[in-house]
Symmetry: C2
Subunit: 431 residues, 2 copies
């Protein structure tokens, strides 16, 4: 068992033990937000055939060589097709076929003219200018060429990729299965939020916050609830988690103390301890163990500490379980737009929010930073990474951080409210 | 009916007609990612009582006034409590109560000392230094004071907010209902991706891409499928959408052309046309109508154009339907890191990706920009906004844009791969 290791070593020790979960096929709509379990190669061109970019006439460019505004060329309309239907006739010199946007280019034709540009008279159209070959032709494979790898194994499936897969005729998408993560909290002081508050007790906030994070990244949380501070009960709950889930996560019972039972319970469940404590604040008391290649991770009972370590350690593990190529939080550098006057003998993660000012990434604290303070996790999208041995961090200092939430709203540079007034109450009747 | 209006006017005309959908209560875990339908006020302090930050001894600070390393003060341990249980005794001068992390501070005590700092001998502990009042005491309300508004109506519920709500004992969360959005595509050339490709036909990509976007923002898509290019069928499908959904979205049938039926079908369904065409490229052919206060929006049949207008116009409407305060895409300014040599007589949106280089927001094109090209929507997280009447846009030019995807990965400044090798195949046996 290692003790008080660096965060990066902890991440590496655990990520190296992760074997992605199984693969499955899901429908197109279900695939959005999941991770591709194999490369997707285009089996056809997109578009599959050369087609018209507009409503107009397909013709042979050389027929219009002599055309000008005073001496139009006349072509005979031999057929009218529309999108989805193929012309039966072949365009030969002196003839044209009317086509719609998206119609395949008729045989023999090599260019197109917009219907607003011609004058139609019975079966004839007059053309008043020279047309180049391939004008307004969307070539087969212009969007995607057959054989091209359009998306790689391990990439996140976004809505545009869903559209692209649909365009390739893929209706069942190969993805990694959802990772099942079991969650439990130890602590005699904890109540479920659905219970009535009692003296000396507090509501268990961590469990729901962490399960929501798990859902957010597409994982499947299993709620094992609250366990009393007692070794046998905790051991039994861990064993149940190991049976049902890919990773077992607990909160509480990991610091030094008479009732801290997690380590003994893990060993009792037959697991081998990998490390205890990571050199970071908040979240230092974290314990990691493994049984039958499944990880059991015990996080701090302090809600903010649990969430910070979840974001820095568990999130990458869960993403990796589900096949994600780059599971670690993205990094950011910026200017500290606050004053944090405590020294940091230990490496410290400060909860902050990115705000863009004049093109500069400013990182501003979201509130008080004690391990128990959850309020400052609200709105936090960056964890500023203060190295061990640092003094106070002051306004204007360059800092690094890890992105743990949506940073887009830091980019607001002006209010975007566009409505003049709220809809009236009497308008609510229809809903 | 207005014609060829500015994007901002289109957004405003439509947003002003949106009346948020109804409200409902959902469980904590289901609330993540949804929008609060009322302010949340803390009904209790968090923590609800002053408690110990550590495992140690609760005492009266003034009892330690004379203590030093050579002359320790001795206190009698009158009780041992643990987290979740309240001390029965009262600390009086000369006594102490043992407490655990999270234990309520016993009556009479006003400070705490860590258990590692004392020497215990039977019923007595020796203390070797003076302790200040309130040391290691987490005060009631330190995280959240009773009565404080912790989250406002209209804000997105993130996992940390889920944790906070749990901590307040809220197990049912007031949110806006899911908006129901009906989707249909018109076009005789379209096939569902589950069908076999036929000559002259293409797979319908837009429908699935747009439905996935709808899911991504928490909406509920209704799939009305593909409709033939024919007024009566389209009218009937629109009417069905209006019965079942809050907004009806279609693709195709909106440009000038013999088989373009959307406008007639909307009127046939009893709707009033609000506008036709928005001055933007791609996506100019868009038609908006209203019936019984429900919107019907027809988008371009070109997949990329449909997605761009969906992101700029439909996404804000759907977010607003579900109560979101600031539904428009966030804005960004940056340096164009590409060359786009065409002039832009019309306002143009270029598909780009944010990449951070030396602290500068660089916006790089994601590929070819024609209306039919879907490939360049993959990886696009910013739509660069080129004003009407612009010439070529060149490398290094300042540009503005709208954020339409996750911009975090533009912040990668180094590879983050941490594993030395892939897990071995023989390790896969357990899963």
């Amino acid at each position: 068992m290692k003790n008080n290791i660096q965060l990066e070593e902890a991440q590496s020790l655990l990520l190296n033990r992760i074997i992605p979960v199984g693969k499955c096929l899901v429908s197109l709509l279900e695939s959005s937000g999941r991770v591709l379990s194999q490369d997707i190669k285009a089996s056809t061109n997109i578009p599959p055939f050369s087609k018209s970019a507009l409503d107009g006439y397909a013709l042979i460019a050389s027929d219009t060589r002599q055309a000008d505004s005073s001496a139009p060329v006349q072509l005979r309309v031999i057929e009218e097709t529309r999108a989805g239907f193929i012309a039966q006739e072949k365009v030969v010199s002196g003839t044209t076929i009317k086509v719609m946007t998206g119609s395949p280019i008729p045989n023999g034709a090599n260019t197109l003219i917009k219907h607003e540009e011609v004058v139609r008279n019975g079966d004839y159209v007059s053309i008043f200018r020279t047309i180049k070959a391939q004008d307004n032709v969307i070539k087969a494979g212009e969007d995607i060429e057959q054989g091209k790898v359009v998306a790689q194994k391990g990439s996140l499936i976004t809505p545009p990729l869903v559209a692209l897969l649909a365009g390739l005729g893929i209706s069942q998408v190969p993805v990694y299965a959802k990772a099942k993560i079991a969650f439990m909290s130890t602590g005699d002081e904890l109540l479920d939020p659905s219970e009535t508050l009692q003296p000396g007790k507090i509501y268990n906030s961590s469990l729901y916050g962490l399960m929501a994070r798990c859902c957010e990244m597409g994982g499947h949380p299993l709620d094992l609830g609250i366990v009393p501070d007692e070794i046998a009960a905790t051991t039994a709950r861990i064993s149940r988690g190991l049976e049902e889930a890919d990773i077992v996560v607990s909160t509480g019972g990991v610091s030094v103390g008479d009732y801290d039972v997690m380590k003994d319970a893990m060993v009792g469940a037959g697991a081998e301890i990998i490390f205890w404590k990571v050199a970071m604040k908040p979240g230092s008391p974290i314990i990691a163990a493994v049984k039958d290649k499944k990880l059991i991770i015990g996080l701090s009972g302090n809600p903010a500490a649990a969430m910070v370590t979840f974001d820095m350690i568990l999130t990458p593990l869960i993403k990796r379980l589900m096949g994600k190529n780059n599971p670690l939080p993205d990094k950011i550098q910026g200017v500290f737009a606050d004053n944090f006057l405590k020294a940091s003998p230990q490496r410290r993660f400060l909860r902050a929010k990115l705000e863009r000012k004049d093109g500069v990434d400013c990182l501003k604290l979201t509130g008080a930073q004690a391990s128990g303070i959850l309020m400052s996790m609200i709105g936090c999208n960056v964890l500023v990474d203060i190295p061990a041995g640092s003094g106070p961090v002051i306004f204007g200092q360059r800092v690094s951080g890890h992105i743990v939430g949506n940073i887009s709203d830091g980019y607001h540079q002006e209010p975007v409210e566009v409505y003049e007034e709220e809809p009236k109450r009497e308008e609510l009747s229809f809903s």
